[in-house]
Amino acid sequence: MTYPRDLQYTREHEWARLEGDVIRVGITAYAVEQLGDVTLVDMPAPGEDVQAHERFGDIESVKTVSELFAPVSGEVVDVNAALESSPELVNEGPYEDGWLITIRPSDQAELDGLMDAAKYEEYLGTLDG
């Protein structure tokens, strides 16, 4: 599997993309594959603060529950309301319609601490087997 080059990645399998002054956040294709059919996503409300590498929500599949971790600190600007009724969007397009939240970062430089696609792919290689 190859990963979009324009994203930054966390060890917990979230992606982050700088879009103007906000950062859009979702989970990676690897995470989606591990989860299976997504059935429910619990997310913070707009205006709430999130901390880098701390839990900001939960994602449930038929089989299991996983925590969601914020790639950067900041304030939640927007949440993907479509996931409320159509959580399967995460499976269908984790980098597009299946995005989770946008964050106004308190320190944009935190993005630089994340992995690029090549590093993330290398990291995934250490997880298998």
Partner: protein, 364 residues
């Protein structure tokens, strides 16, 4: 420390089909191929094929086979005719559940006991300790493959495979010897999905041949290979017990709603005195089915909250793909077990609404 996982003879078939294999009860088993929801739907509307070779199989033979197995389980095996099967539990001296089993009388003096993979060692040890020394028995789990063909079109798939009229017409909870795709096997009308279907026991060396033949015959009937993920949602909708979740060594059959497999007035069996005592003195909790009335999915171990206090615990929970609601099972005090009773399920610190409903959640 990671221990070496066992693989069924079909592991490479699963990989070739794109399955995700995960550790389960000491085995590396397919949890899903295409996705749990699609696989679940295939079994409810068409047909699904499962590799459940991780299950334990014990053969008990000889003139005392029936009487000996009867002594180990709560249901009445003495009345089991040749070619018939029954569901039962196996209890310890305290009447607590060691495992749930299906007992098949293959021949007059040949009984097959199928146990859960997670309990195989325990049940084999229990049999070794409890069976009469003169009764030959054998743990054949490592030599036998078990495939489950389940769903409303399972019978069409069997016809496609050239099954005889006897096999097509095999009634529920019956078993017979058969030859399918040139494979000698035992075919039973049993399963763990709430659908019609067959379970096929064959020798490991025939596993790949049989698996491929069934998949091919099933193509025009919409058959899909199905993993353990959908097996769990299917069995939960049908309120079939999962050992280690809904029943375990701290539960007795009455509170689990399995009183119907306890035949106190039949021949003596291990745990009978204790179960008589439990029945006479009564018991205070019951396994109930519930559905979520608010947004949330209950999972095993989540507390059940009523009036601000913890009154029980969820034993199984997931979305029910066919019933279209988030469902679960859990033990609650009898006073809270009536259909329509409002419960709260504590999900990550927040109490979410649920209601006791009639089970099974799904009935074909």
């Amino acid at each position: 420390m990671s221990e070496t996982l066992l693989e069924t003879p079909l592991a490479d078939e699963h990989r070739a089909l794109g399955a995700r294999l995960v550790p389960f009860a000491g085995w590396r088993m397919p949890v899903q191929y295409e996705g749990i929801k699609k696989e679940h739907e295939a079994v409810r509307t068409r047909a699904g094929l499962f590799d459940v070779s991780h299950m334990g199989e014990i053969l008990v033979e000889g003139p005392n086979a029936i009487a000996e197995v009867d002594r180990l389980v709560t249901n009445d095996v003495s009345k089991l005719d040749v070619g018939r099967a029954l569901y039962t539990v196996c209890c310890n001296d305290y009447g607590l559940i060691l495992d749930d089993l299906i007992v098949y009388r293959l021949e007059a003096e040949k009984v097959l006991v199928v146990c859960n993979a997670s309990n195989r060692e325990k049940i084999v040890a229990h049999f070794a300790k409890s069976l009469d020394l003169g009764t030959p028995w054998n743990d054949v789990s490592d030599e036998w493959t078990l495939l489950a063909l389940q769903g409303p079109r399972a019978v069409d798939v069997m016809k496609e495979l050239g099954a005889t009229a006897d096999l097509i017409g095999l009634p529920s909870f019956h078993v017979m010897h058969a030859n399918i795709a040139e494979v000698e096997l035992w075919a039973a009308r049993t399963g763990y999905t709430g659908e019609d279907g067959f379970e096929l026991f064959c020798a490991n060396e025939d596993a790949v041949r049989l698996w491929r033949a069934v998949l091919e015959a099933g193509q025009k009937h919409g058959l899909k290979p199905v993993g353990l993920g959908a097996r769990d949602t299917l069995r939960l909708e049908a309120r079939l017990m999962l050992y280690g979740h809904d029943i375990n060594e701290h539960t007795h059959p009455f509170e689990a709603g399995l009183g119907w497999v306890v035949k106190l007035d039949a021949n003596d069996f291990i745990g009978r005195e204790a179960l008589r005592g439990i029945k006479a003195s009564g018991f205070d909790r019951k396994l109930v089915g519930f559905e979520m009335t608010e947004r949330g999915i209950a999972r095993q171990g989540y507390p059940i909250i009523v009036g601000g206090s913890r009154v029980g615990e969820v034993t199984s929970g997931s979305p029910g793909p066919t019933v279209g609601r988030n469902i679960g099972l859990g033990y609650v005090p009898k006073a809270l077990s009536k259909v329509g009773t409002t419960l709260g399920i504590e999900i990550r610190g927040k109490v979410v609404g649920a209601v006791v409903v009639r089970t099974p959640f799904y009935k074909r």
